[in-house]
């Protein structure tokens, strides 16, 4: 109710259009007005402002009907929100009218990627600077921020880099990514002897890494092998189900996993090699450097991969599966490979978390976490390593920062409203992400012009754009 009246106040033309038109001519004028881009954008900006007011407004409850909405819309900050969105509208309109000639779509295709990342040397320099910063800066932080750096940022950067291989490189949507994280964590608990079922030999968590990588990879192959033959959107649903199944199984098999009460006392990492003894205890920095090591390893490895036969095969599959197969690429193998590589990265993160916190429970592995990691990858830029790192770091740092310094009605509870909005807005306005990869960017712009597909969603192993390919009986 309030939404409509609020809109009407700010938009008299719209109000008039609802009343019966007195004359044909006037009605047509209104229709024409509603088709005008500027007017349409203005309406969108007003509605957007109201939605923004709702999101940032007070929390409602079920006791009084629509109390949240009432409260939010009567709040003075509605006007601030409206001012913000209408301000954006003004900017866009002004820019639109003055720079119409410059802003030409075809110009985007080749020009922008070069402008964003000018030179290989500059990029290498940026990476080195980032790396140096990542080494020098954390010791100056207090232990809370160090902990954030480990548990909220480091781990998620690693996870995002891994998911980037699946979503960004191979163009597959994996919504059960956190399941492999769980497999890593439970592998750690198993091989260190903390589960009700005992391993043949007890291992230091360090030795669990290769085992967890193998286990997660195997799980990835077992799940991916059959499902990756199917259309891409089925894969999304199957992985979503798989994520749920892993959680339920971990919860139900009390005799194996410790059930809902979780596993406690998983040992920390320690090294006893050639006279060197080191024990990772409770302080955060040693874990941070361990994670940083893994992140750097993963970055180097996946960078090489991207620019190798495997990476080119992934690009080919993303663009045109039929042509890729015709060029001798075993598309299924490469998809499974991407899936397994992503899974193993997630498994590594699981081991680190389990050994750092020392406790694992099934409730940690929710679908929401899989979505969170997807948001990080999309925000940063699909297929872009820099994007995955920066996207994850920014989006994971921001909520923690806002927790300490709440700004503009921010409430921890609303995090996923913002994340949802980010996904939609990124897809509409900047599908290539914050720091796009060159290939991806090209593909997306080309796909918009009807060339190529920019993902591997079209169909199963044996063919692409043709609906009838997998099954000649289906259709002509």
């Amino acid at each position: 109710m309030t939404t409509i009246s609020g809109e009407a106040v700010n938009h008299p033309e719209r109000m008039a259009s609802r009343s019966p038109a007195p004359g044909e001519g006037r009605y047509r004028a209104l229709v024409r007005l509603s088709r005008n881009d500027d007017v349409r954008r203005f309406v969108i900006s007003v509605v957007g402002g109201l939605v923004l007011a709702l999101i940032t407004g007070p929390e409602g409850n079920g006791v009084q009907m629509l109390s949240g909405i009432n409260g939010a819309l009567l709040h003075p900050h509605v006007f601030i929100c409206l001012a913000v969105t209408v301000g954006v509208w003004v900017l866009i309109t002004v820019r639109h009218h003055f720079a119409r000639q410059v802003e030409h779509v075809s110009g985007r295709v080749m020009a922008l990627p070069k402008a964003v990342l000018p030179d290989r040397r500059v990029r290498a320099g940026l990476w080195l600077a980032l790396f140096a910063f990542a080494i020098i800066y954390p010791p100056t932080l207090n232990s809370f921020w160090q902990n954030v750096l480990v548990e909220q940022i480091g781990i998620y950067v690693l996870l995002a880099i891994g998911l980037n291989v699946v979503v960004g490189y191979a163009g597959l949507l994996d919504l059960g990514y956190i399941a492999f994280f769980a497999i890593g964590a439970y592998s750690d608990a198993y091989w260190t002897g903390m589960l009700p079922v005992h391993p043949p030999l007890h291992l230091n968590p360090f030795w669990v890494f290769p085992l967890a990588i193998l286990t997660a990879m195997l799980a990835g192959v077992l799940l991916g092998g059959p499902t990756l033959r199917l259309r891409g959107d089925y894969l999304a649903i199957v992985t979503l189900g798989f994520g749920e199944i892993i959680q339920i199984v971990a919860n139900n098999l009390q005799g194996v996993t410790g059930g809902a009460q979780g596993v406690i006392n998983i040992p920390h990492f320690s090294v006893h090699v050639a006279g060197i003894k080191y024990h990772w205890g409770l302080s955060n920095l040693p874990y941070y450097y361990l994670i940083l090591g893994f992140i750097v390893l993963a970055l180097l490895a996946y960078f090489s991969l991207e620019h190798s036969k495997v990476g080119r095969a992934w690009t080919a599959i993303r663009e045109d599966e039929v042509a890729a197969e015709a060029a001798g690429i075993n598309t299924l193998k490469y998809k499974v490979m991407a899936f397994a590589i992503g899974a193993s990265t997630s498994g590594v993160a699981g081991v680190i978390v389990a050994s750092q916190i020392g406790f694992v429970e099934p409730g940690d592995f929710t679908v929401q976490l899989s979505i969170l990691i997807l948001v990080l990858v999309i925000f940063g830029g699909m297929g872009s390593l820099a994007g995955a790192v920066v996207g994850a770091a920014v989006l994971q740092w921001l909520p923690q920062f806002l927790r300490v310094h709440p700004l503009f009605g921010y409430n921890q509870l609303d995090l996923y409203i913002y994340f949802g909005a980010i996904l939609i807005l990124m897809m509409i306005f900047r599908p290539e992400g914050l720091i796009p990869s060159r290939r991806r960017r090209r593909e997306i712009v080309l796909a918009e012009h009807g060339v190529g597909s920019a993902d591997a969603m079209e169909s199963g192993h044996s063919g692409g754009g043709l609906a009838a390919v997998a099954n000649p009986e289906a259709d002509l």
Binding site: L54, I55, E59, G60, N61, G62, M65, L66, G68, I69, V167, G171, L173, L175, P226, T227, L230, R231, D233, Y234, A236, I237, V238, L240, G241, F242, E244, I245, I248, N251, N252, V367, I371, L374, I378, L413, D414, Y416, I417, F419, G420, A421, I422, L423, I424, L425, M426, M427, I428, P431, E443, I444, A447, E448, S453, A454, D455, M457, N471, A474
Partner: protein, 308 residues
């Protein structure tokens, strides 16, 4: 056999669940038919229907306890409110999260991601506005054992769900088969390009399809909420099950969705006696995976264009 002891009660229970799955599954199937796209946010369409009916019935019924013809009226109002709420959200969703991408000829992955974003946006916003606790829809009728059939207690609620669901399913089947609207939907489902060359307004047909799916999903939200209350998280599991049902019957196929829904409901309930309540969801997802592997086109096969 483990399920012989309580076969009839579980069958009835399963059919009651199955009708709800079928209603939701139709939303997936119709949209899939015209767009070849899984509408991930359909769970939130369902949830919105539940809340819409809650607010309307809360205002109308309050704490009173209606019976007789008043009950029938309130059920009709609840369905109407739910359907309206669902349709509205489905319509907006299509306009905001899908159409801009379609206009840009975005890759499929973008649609899925945008839909997931829409789903998270809507359901967390609902949690914020309507509270995090489950809300009880004021009962339009007193639920309880209505009569006994083969030793199975049939609850009033089941009867209401079954009657409403069957009526809606028949209407939709006929609408798609016989009306101009249905013809448009079928044409787009069969070949969007040709349809547009023949003068079908594709955008309008897609909008209409979302609205029809929203009407059914929203009504299902009300019928579901009658028994289980409405909460902002209510959509996730039933929608995932309904999707499974749609795939089981053959996605894109209206009658397949109904068959799949009923089948899934029954199998799921029988699995409670056979395996245990805590494995129920695993069984459902297991079926999904198995169907996709063995017969990805489902029991009745895919095509929306041919089914009706």
């Amino acid at each position: 056999m483990c399920f012989t002891t309580n076969f009839w009660p579980f069958l009835v229970q399963g059919l009651a669940d199955g009708f709800l799955y079928a209603l939701i599954a139709l939303g997936y199937t119709l949209v899939y038919g015209v767009l070849q796209l899984i509408n991930f946010a359909h769970s939130e369409v369902f949830m919105s229907g539940g809340f819409a009916s809650y607010f309307v019935l809360e205002a109308l019924i309050g704490t009173s306890q209606p019976h007789g013809m008043a009950s029938v009226g309130y059920v009709a109002i609840g369905i109407g409110a739910g359907a309206f709420g669902g349709a509205l959200v489905a319509f907006l969703l299509e306009r905001v999260a899908y159409r801009p991408l379609r206009r840009r000829n975005a890759p499929r992955l973008a649609f899925l991601i945008s839909a997931i974003g829409g789903s998270y946006f809507i359901y967390n916003l609902a949690g914020k506005e309507f509270g995090r606790n489950a809300l009880e829809i004021p009962a339009p009728f007193l639920n309880g054992p209505a009569f006994t059939l083969f030793g199975a207690t049939i609850q009033t609620d089941y009867v209401v769900v079954a009657i409403c669901a069957i009526a809606m399913l028949i209407i939709v089947d006929r609408v798609v088969a016989m009306t101009r609207l249905g013809k448009g939907i079928r044409a787009v489902a069969q070949d969007a390009e040709t349809a547009s060359l023949m003068g079908v307004n594709i955008n309008r047909v897609i909008s209409q399809t979302f609205v029809i799916g929203g009407l059914l999903g929203g009504a299902a939200g009300f019928l579901f909420g009658l028994n289980f209350g409405v909460a902002y998280t209510m959509g996730f599991t039933p929608a995932l099950k309904a999707f499974t049902a749609a795939v089981l019957g053959g996605i894109g196929n209206i009658r397949g969705a109904v068959l799949g829904g009923l089948l899934l409901g029954v199998i799921e309930n029988l699995s409670v006696t056979c395996i245990g309540a805590n494995w129920r969801d695993v069984v459902a997802f297991g079926i999904l995976v198995a169907v996709l592997l063995v017969r990805p086109t489902g029991i009745l096969g895919e095509r929306l264009g041919r089914s009706a």
